[in-house]
Symmetry: C3
Subunit: 326 residues, 3 copies
């Protein structure tokens, strides 16, 4: 049900809520638009007029300076006006409901809400209630989905590996609590990656993880063997309830990506991380800053992909127009 | 004395501090400019170049995300640069006086301050000390005044009722602590509304409220009888000192606007609320979301009215120019 | 070593980190550009297109609304997009290092970081690690340096005194903990001020302060005698550890600048203060608001000087181009 919500009657992407229900064509269309925006970031004047006069609201019910910044930069490069709203305890204290907050903002003729909420489904709930001219992008909800991150990760893989057809992708770490992992597994499936593996201690693997179409490993050497792409997840220290890992040192020994463990993968394997990194916990600095790391290109690509998704849902799908300076 | 402060020597509106002292003509002029901005909000490119190159400072000594957002959106639609300043405990701790803060900002060649302060008179104090090229808009001070809200409420009444000549307007709820109520009563008087009523438990009515030219009621049925416009006030829970109401449930039973109580008013009566609403306390959701509610149009009108007031005090009073896209 | 970091191989100013190593010519070039921006602040449309399409990040590891506002206004008047980041406990809690934060932001193709940090050297550390197209401005680090303040102070002195050749400048107050004092002493030395004095209780004077090329006084009458310029420092109450001054009242009696003490200086001496002032502690209101005070012109000049420094490090050094409206 929820997958359909993001398309309008003509099948065009109206909201960007989840990877579920996206076609390969839609994802590739996002990639095409994003490629055109990559060059925008390298120009003297890094703006295109695509969203000029539009109002983008960063509606963050959960604080995330990093994610908010990427969307704020992306929106400003599209020439939109940006309003940052951290809706925390204060408005809850004032007794206003989530939907009243949103209805008020849309009554101000805002065009696009970037929603971050710690409860799965918040972005859906909002999308189900806004009028046709208002668009929603899910910037992360609970442990459920973080779909723009998944698309930028896939975009990064394509830029470095050329395609998806023959890849082995290993995702390592806090699979259980990671909104990144779930969304990424979906998008890699849609794009036709033949083999996706997850590697984690048993306590950080969801039960029945294989139903997602992945192979699970508890041993790094086995899981990384012959991999083309390694996606290290952030160990969500603040999110883990109870003692799911024995100690940080032991976690690093078993699952931290070191130059030694990296040798299990293909020699030209790329290393990814959604950030922010815990250096010395899930990843060794020698790897994070090494020649196989594409962690900073992910960040660069993230701006272009978020610009592309904003442009697409707002209806500005002509990359040619997007390519002209503002 | 304070009423004159907002006009310059030529009688033009220089600051917007209070409804007191405004002429009917000035209010109607704001309405005329606001009408021209209503269409701006419905365009593809929702900007006019009227305040291009001007710097608007949201100077909030009291946190109010909602009010700040409306002014920020309004200023950006006029193409102004906006600086948000939450001046809280920090600067008080640094020992800087209110006037030093303002003098510093005006020395940066800022043009317009939108001031929110929890003490009545803060906006006046500032307006009394700024040089001629700096303009002040009062965005709410203590329990005293919230004049932009009053003008947008009146503007909303005119858009839905066509005029003010034959109206009965009932204002319901926390009259005692409401900055909205005082400003609204004034503006309705200036615009010639023949009958304004206030309805509240005796503990929430100011003493001698009739001296404001209104009739007071403690019974909803009597107060709403034959009303054309109902303005529900937010019950300022956080502001009430002591037990002024028996219980929230009893308050809702006696003063909450339900479909049943709404039937006491005229069949085409409109229902307003400045927001944020306490659903189930002062208003029933069936009314808030019902066909007689104009609560969301109030929000939309609020942007246009705030743009109009900003344009007027900044001297950009030609709606024709304002009507051209940026 | 650190002084060279701010120049590129061609000797052009790439970062603005410290007064150390700046030539007189560079400082005078900043003054020339700043003069062209003074007029921009007085226009109807206070914007120039010099940094259009550039992204400026206010990266504040230490809260300073006042300093952040001056840089935000300066950047917006240059038509840059501005991102405000208060990087406090939250990201430290997330375990991301300073350099990872910066690398992420630069991967987003940001152009200029305005860095405020409570540790001396933070801006250097960042500058030492950014790629050539990224520029750093030090907006204050620990008790070490606050170089933009020093340049705007010197610029203000030149505007009021015409030059530096024959001046006696007295800096009064919390020399020990003041980042302003150190930077200012350097810049006055470079500009050829023949006599700089510092006046403070012995407990607020650095040991061996004379090695900075200044004369130190503990008596205001002696120190102010025949001075052309008096720079009052803010008494950093929150920064003093232990009882370095006997009492606030006694401090005011001995070192507070009153009309009486001001008479020790030349009749046309100017009085400066970097703000925010502690009225009644280090300065009497009669002096702060009196005819010899240039405290508010300092603020105005601060915007122009910060615009000039941003323009210079970004490579937009043609004031003629900067002078055209955006």
């Amino acid at each position: 049900m929820t997958g359909n919500l993001q398309f309008d009657a003509q099948g065009r992407l109206r909201h960007f809520l989840t990877i579920d229900g996206l076609s390969r064509e839609t994802i590739l269309e996002i990639f095409t638009i994003a490629e055109s925006f990559i060059s925008v970031g390298e120009r003297e004047i890094k703006k295109v007029p695509l969203a000029r006069g539009k109002t983008v609201v960063n509606l963050f019910f959960e604080s995330s300076t990093r994610t908010r910044t990427t969307f704020e930069i992306a929106a400003k490069r599209l020439s939109a006006d940006v309003i940052n709203l951290n809706v925390g305890a204060s408005s809850a204290a004032k007794g206003e409901t989530l939907l009243d907050t949103v209805r008020n903002l849309e009554a101000m003729h805002t065009d696009l809400f970037v929603v971050r909420h710690n409860q799965a489904g918040a972005a859906y709930l909002i999308a189900a209630h806004v009028p046709p001219h208002v668009h929603i992008i899910n910037a992360g909800d609970g442990a459920h989905a973080h779909p723009t991150q998944a698309v930028l990760d896939a975009f990064t893989i394509r830029r470095h590996k050329g395609g998806f057809e023959n890849l082995k992708v290993a995702i390592v770490g806090d699979i259980l609590y990671s909104r990144v992992a779930r969304s990424l597994i979906r998008v890699l499936d849609i794009l036709g990656v033949p083999e996706v593996r997850v590697i984690a201690p048993r306590t950080l693997l969801p039960t029945a993880v294989e139903t997602l179409g992945v192979r699970s490993y508890t041993d790094m050497g086995e899981g990384l063997d012959d991999a083309d792409v390694i996606v290290m997840l952030r160990l969500q220290r603040e999110r883990m309830r109870g003692a799911l890992i024995p100690s940080e040192q032991e976690y690093f020994n078993l699952y931290g990506l070191t130059p030694g463990k990296l040798e299990c993968a293909k020699p030209d394997a790329i290393v990814m991380h959604p950030g922010p990194m815990n250096r010395g916990l899930e990843i060794d600095s020698a790897v994070a800053d090494g020649p196989q790391s594409v962690i900073l290109p992910q960040v660069t690509n993230g701006i272009a992909v978020r610009m592309a998704i904003m442009a697409l849902v707002l209806g500005g799908r002509e990359p040619a127009e997007g390519g002209r300076p503002a």
